[in-house]
Amino acid sequence: MSTSKRLNSDRLETQFKDFKPALDRAEATEEAQRCINCFDAPCIKACPTGIDIPKFIRRIGSNHVQGAAKTILDSNIFGLSCAECCPVETLCEGACVYNDLNHKPITIGKLQRFAIETAYDASMEFYKPGKASGKKVALLGAGPASFAAAHELRIHGHEAVIFEKSEIAGGLNTTGIAPYKMRAEVSLREVERILKMGVKVEYGKELGRNVDLNKLVQEYDAVFLGLGLGADSKFDAAGADHPRVTGAVDFIAKMKTCQASELAWMKNVKTALVIGGGNTALDACRELKGLGVEQVVVSYRRGEAEMSGYKHEFKWARQEGVDFWFHTLGGCRWPGNAYRDHTDVERRPGFSGDRPGKAGVVADKNDWFEIRKGPPAGRTQDGPHGARENICRWRLGQWRNGSRQRSG
């Protein structure tokens, strides 16, 4: 069967509005006509999928949206997802020559979204399966890599069968994009179009559990490994297995695909700590703000300049009221022990045990939380338990009631 699990209509992500609203036709035309159509354009070079950006923008400007969409999809069959979630500020739009004129760069992402949405809304079709070649390919993992590969295989007439361990298609495109950037249905919309090319998906099939690679190699002409990055890394610190500590990937996936009731405990969360300084941390802190968490703090072990998260996302997070504590070793201390060898521990109001039930970080009134300002003298690499590197990888700090099950 090829139909992905349906999304729950009451899932939490539906609370989020588009951070970058769609353009209407008049806005898109005007913006497209503003593009100066660079020759050998820097935006194309900045696009990881090499979309001929001036070419598709010119087609929007001439009211030839069909050609615009085709131009995009020829380079990137996930043109809609990418339009909504690409960090255009550092890619195509960051490379726009208008930046050098101190003009606002062309909103390439929004124009791309306009082109594809308009084409899809009008049910335009762009590709047909090729003449059957008699060859078949197995693809492991139903994420964007496998779907993009399967689409290409179908164009050439090869059979394409995807094996997916979960019940939902689209991989991180469906389960991992911050909802104010893109909702899961956008991903499924693109997946559906690829499925219509005759791509088959076998759900509940996991490599090593009920899928044998040796057997696939024998049965298929080729095997494509589209396995993705996997689950959240483990947080090797005291308190990490507390029920209201969760990993970002798991948290976002629940918000995007599950019934709101699965995250019902979030309703009472007033404060939250996000550990890490990368883009997932920046997504997570803005998601928490979007869900109504009053105080959201990002704790990052190094300084602002060292943060790997995008500068523009950092700016927006600040604007949305997220607090950033730099040079702090984010971590939870559950009664008694962790980080006791840190010297300059500071108790933060709102994250301390004197506000039982109010602070998201606190499970009960005996729990408390510490943020250490700056590394202790003489320590540069490892904290207690060798935890600092792990902390960096553990990007979302979130506390939940109920199940103590770790994400994975």
Binding site: T29, E30, Q33, R34, I36, N37, C38, F39, D40, A41, P42, G61, V97, Y98, D100, L101
Partner: protein
């Protein structure tokens, strides 16, 4: 603030900006509001035998996101009774005596000209303008551009008007002719005190590609209209200039054609216009644009040391030459200034495909292509397409043997 008082044909206006005969001068209420806003004069919507207008009447070209770069109309002369117009003209002149009121006229027979000229003079018109320019509808009835395209007929009717009129007579010319100096000369021979130009250019503004009907549509059909607005300004500037330098004409010119702001107006005056008339920009933005035109002209005059607008008239005419009179030994080449270049490479592709293949991307750097000077003919296409102010300029140089 410079003194913008302008004398044209002995008529004094507060400034050189008149409203052209068109929808903005259709009624007394409009004209009085325009005077109130600051317009120096108004040429009333053309009077003649009553007609019926159709709907719709207008079409426009939008270009690169800007509305109404070019404008087209199939509206005829006034569709209001003559006595109503006359009554309102009298009122406008009575209430705004310092502002110039010109009657635009279009009738057929000698008797009709005699009759209507007397009537408009009686209500206080400062001048009359003979509409020999309208290229749609009226010309099918032997009037408008049908007269403007026949110099002999134009001369005859002009002489009738001069015979009957006590106020100055302006002949409004059509651009729908091979050489506009011919009808201008005919106007002069007929005794005209001035010419005004251009009237609109015969046009079809667009075609609906879905139902195959040109625009504007009237019950599923269309007809050619008259084209005006910013797009026609270069055509009008040429025609004004060619009449200004024609010794066989030698009468004042009222400049018309796509004038939207004070700078456009200055350009027309430099090319020989004694004053200017405006329509499309007012139809787009309203009478209020006069404020900027007045202030802008005043500041320009102060900066340039002009004491009256009349001093501007014709200043550029001596510099408008025949091609054969140009200095063929002069040479300049493109110079790209890396500090201002944004690296769009539009100059590269323009020079490659539309120029003389002398600009190349410098492979090792993103910015600032290089000009191969010996190949540069100085066409300045690159300068024109460059979006970054000052990134490409033309530098005077010696012409090398290569260019001969």
């Amino acid at each position: 603030m410079a003194d913008l008082t302008t004398k044209f044909l002995g008529i004094t206006s507060p400034n050189p900006f008149w409203l052209a005969s068109a929808p903005p001068t259709n009624t007394g209420g409009q004209v009085m509001r325009a005077f109130e806003a600051g317009w120096g004069g108004a040429v009333w919507k053309t009077l003649g035998k009553p007609i019926t207008n159709v709907s719709s009447r207008f079409g426009a070209i939008d270009y690169a996101g800007r509305k109404v770069a070019g404008f087209n109309n199939i509206e005829l002369i006034t569709d209001r009774p003559l006595d109503v117009n006359l009554k309102e003209m009298a009122e406008a002149k009575r209430r705004y005596p310092k502002h110039t009121l010109v009657a635009s006229l279009m009738v057929e027979t000698r008797e009709e000209w005699k009759d209507i000229i007397r009537k408009v003079e009686d209500v206080g018109s400062d001048a009359i303008e003979l509409n020999f320019g309208c290229p749609h509808g009226m010309c099918e009835r032997g009037m408008g551009s049908a007269v403007g395209q026949e110099p002999k007929l134009l001369e005859l009717i002009t002489s009738w008007a001069k015979e009957f009129a006590r106020v100055p007579v302006i002949v409004k010319l059509t651009p729908n002719i091979t050489d506009v100096t011919r009808p201008a000369q005919a106007a002069k021979r007929g005794g005209a005190d001035a010419v005004s130009l251009i009237n609109t250019i015969k046009s079809i503004i667009a075609v609906d590609i879905n139902d195959f009907v040109p625009l504007p549509k009237v019950a599923g059909k269309s007809t050619n209209g008259g084209y005006c607005g910013p797009a026609v300004k270069p055509i009008a500037l040429h025609m004004v200039g060619s009449i200004a330098k024609d010794r066989l004409v030698g009468i004042p010119i009222s400049g018309i054609g796509g004038i939207s702001d004070w700078r456009d107006a200055v350009e027309f005056m430099l090319m020989g216009a004694g004053n200017v008339q405006v329509c499309t920009a007012v139809m787009h933005y309203g009478y209020r644009i006069i404020e900027d035109m007045v202030e802008g002209l005043s500041d320009y005059m102060d900066a340039k040391g002009f004491r009256t607008p009349m001093e501007i008239t014709g200043k550029a005419v001596p510099n408008y030459k025949e091609w054969g009179e140009l200095d063929q030994s002069y040479h300049h080449v493109a110079e790209i200034h890396p500090e201002a270049c944004i690296g769009c490479n539009l100059c590269v592709v323009a020079c490659d495909d539309g120029g003389h293949q002398c600009i190349a991307v410098k492979p090792e750097v993103r910015r600032a292509p290089i000009v191969h000077e010996p190949e540069c003919v100085g066409c300045n296409l690159c300068e024109l397409v460059c979006p970054s102010p000052g990134a490409i300029t033309m530098r005077k140089t010696e012409r090398t043997a290569h260019h001969h």
